[in-house]
């Protein structure tokens, strides 16, 4: 037990050091910080504006009003921001595979997957949080969402679970590079698919697509099901307000599956030039 705690403490120390380093690196380029501070919020303002234009024309989207959609979108963006901070490297795993970056990780006495994600901590993900929180607060006000202790815990649990689902899927897609030896990142496509399936209620899609998004690629659990639970909106799947816990559980399962796929893939890693 003591050994386990020591190891955990060591990992936490290394993580804090890496976060500090990441902060120092970005301070080196102040203009770049300003650029990301503008560009990331714009991405979500564009998304929010799209919802607004659609709602103005059609009134509601599958029974969801503008306030509820803002709530849904806000939480989706927040979980995206968290996943960007910790797991965005999954998008670029292909480059590390073909350039032999894993050589360094394999010779160090820390988990390879841990090093891959935490030695290049993406501090810029915080810039995504700003629009997410703003839209979420707007959604809370519009829907009259009550912030009880239970709801607050539920939201935190949901965000962690949703970030795990996103991160797990990034790792799975990135891990395919071990087999394909390709540096192509599907990050932008992944982002677009996540946008389409997390900013609108998936109940508007045909049942076959809903099935895929619920059980096969569980993106429905990123925002739709847990937010429906929090809003008291009935869904065909789930246990109402307990959906946030299902999101958390699904997140853990997806992350474990992703870790396993990464581990299997790493066995096929051939290093650069061999």
């Amino acid at each position: 037990m003591r050994k386990l705690l020591d190891t955990l403490g060591h990992y936490i120390d290394v993580t804090l050091c890496n976060i500090k380093l990441a902060l120092m690196v970005i301070i080196e380029y102040p203009a770049n910080i300003a650029g990301w501070l503008i560009s990331n919020p714009i991405q979500f303002i564009v998304g929010f504006a799209t919802i607004k234009f659609v709602v103005v024309q059609f009134g509601e989207i599958n029974g969801w009003n503008y306030g509820q959609l803002a709530f849904l979108y806000g939480l989706s963006v927040i979980s995206h921001a968290v996943s960007m901070m910790f797991f965005v490297q999954g998008w670029f795993m292909g480059y590390s595979v073909i350039e032999g970056d894993f050589d360094r990780y394999l010779t160090r006495p820390l988990g390879v997957l841990y090093q891959f994600f935490f030695t290049t901590f993406n501090i810029f993900g915080i810039t995504d949080l700003i629009p997410g929180i703003v839209v979420f607060i707007y959604g809370c006000i519009e829907t009259g969402f009550r912030f009880t202790f239970g709801n607050a815990v539920g939201i935190i649990v949901m965000i962690i679970g949703a970030a795990f689902i996103r991160g797990g899927l990034y790792i799975m897609l990135g891990s395919t590079s071990f087999w394909t030896k390709s540096a192509n990142d599907f990050g932008q496509y992944t982002q677009e698919i996540f946008d389409k399936s997390t900013m609108y209620p998936i109940s508007m899609y045909p049942e076959s697509l809903q099935f895929i998004l619920t059980y096969l690629i569980p993106i429905g659990w990123v925002s739709f099901y847990p937010v429906s639970g929090l809003m008291g909106i009935e869904t065909t799947v789930g246990i109402g307000s307990g959906n946030v816990w299902i999101t958390f559980a699904v997140g853990i399962v997806v992350m474990l599956a992703a870790g396993l796929l990464f581990k299997i893939g790493l066995r096929r890693y051939e290093s650069a030039g061999n």
């Binding site: 380029y29 203009a31 770049n32 650029g35 990301w36 503008i38 560009s39 990331n40 714009i42 991405q43 564009v46 504006a49 799209t50 234009f53 659609v54 103005v56 024309q57 059609f58 989207i61 599958n62 395919t176 087999w179 394909t180 030896k181 390709s182 192509n184 599907f186 496509y189 992944t190 677009e192 698919i193 389409k196 399936s197 609108y200 508007m204 899609y205 045909p206 697509l209």
Partner: protein
């Protein structure tokens, strides 16, 4: 001839990874199908004020997805990388125009994507969603002309924007800003018919809507021929203006190149 060789090299390079080809097709198909279902659910059986129905929106979605392939540009990142690494100096020594090479590379990529993405998207879209039939046969030449101009405007905007790298060096964030604004303002993700009147009027004076919206309007027949001709004139004007700006800036930025502190 040299540019054709660059184009051919890029074309061959694009076919290197089979998984990338399948991956891109699968991803784009998912995006296209979810977008189509989205519009189908929203429209239901209703008709929009300009006569557009769910059926027209499905055509809009398939053609918009296919067009996005033609608007693939690598020029911004190519300039940024060359300036950052300093390889721009070597490229400038070559007896061909640097921007000509970038253009040829992008054309090579697009030529490969025609088979890798555009054709599969149209085929899958026709099988899974609907056959995207053009509004009228007489619209075909107008659509083709408008599409060529929109490709030109898109590339010129990307190249002009990319020239910023000669000053800014690191411009990943700026590229993202441009990408997101272009997505919203060009009509690629949502037609500008849905925008408020005041915003639509402003947008019609800017070049962005002449990238996606105009060719798509011609294809789905959402507007009258007189209106299309008027907007095509504006499209030609924007193409000429951006072309002039591009050639003027090209000389200036290449004169400002600074490599390894020299």
């Amino acid at each position: 001839m040299s540019y054709l060789y660059v184009m051919k090299t890029q074309l061959i390079r694009s076919f290197t990874y089979r998984f990338d080809v399948y991956g891109n097709i699968i991803m784009q198909t998912i995006i296209m199908v979810t977008t189509a279902f989205f519009w189908r659910a929203l429209f239901g059986s209703s008709t929009f004020s300009n006569g557009m129905t769910a059926d027209s929106m499905l055509t809009y979605t398939i053609i918009s997805s296919a067009m996005s392939v033609l608007f693939t540009t690598g020029v911004e990142r190519r300039i940024q990388r060359s300036v950052e690494l300093g390889s721009i100096s070597v490229e400038m020594i070559h007896p061909i125009n640097v921007f000509g090479v970038y253009f040829a590379e992008d054309m090579g990529t697009i030529a490969a994507l025609l088979f890798q993405n555009l054709l599969p998207i149209i085929i899958i879209g026709s099988l899974v969603i609907k056959v995207p039939v053009i509004a009228s046969v007489s619209a075909i030449p107008m659509f083709a002309a408008s599409l060529v101009l929109s490709m030109g405007i898109n590339w010129l905007l990307a190249a002009i924007f990319g020239m910023w790298a000669f000053t800014a060096v690191q411009m990943d964030a700026l590229i993202q800003v441009k990408k997101h604004l272009l997505r919203l303002l060009s009509g690629s993700i949502i037609p500008i018919w849905f925008f408020p009147d005041s915003l639509r009027t402003v947008l019609e004076a800017l070049p962005f809507v002449y990238i996606y919206q105009l060719p798509l309007d011609i294809y789905v027949g959402s507007t009258l021929t007189e209106d299309i001709l008027r907007r095509m004139v504006i499209q030609v004007i924007w193409f000429a203006v951006l072309g002039t700006v591009f050639f003027m800036l090209q000389k200036r930025v290449l004169g400002k190149v600074m490599v390894q502190g020299g």
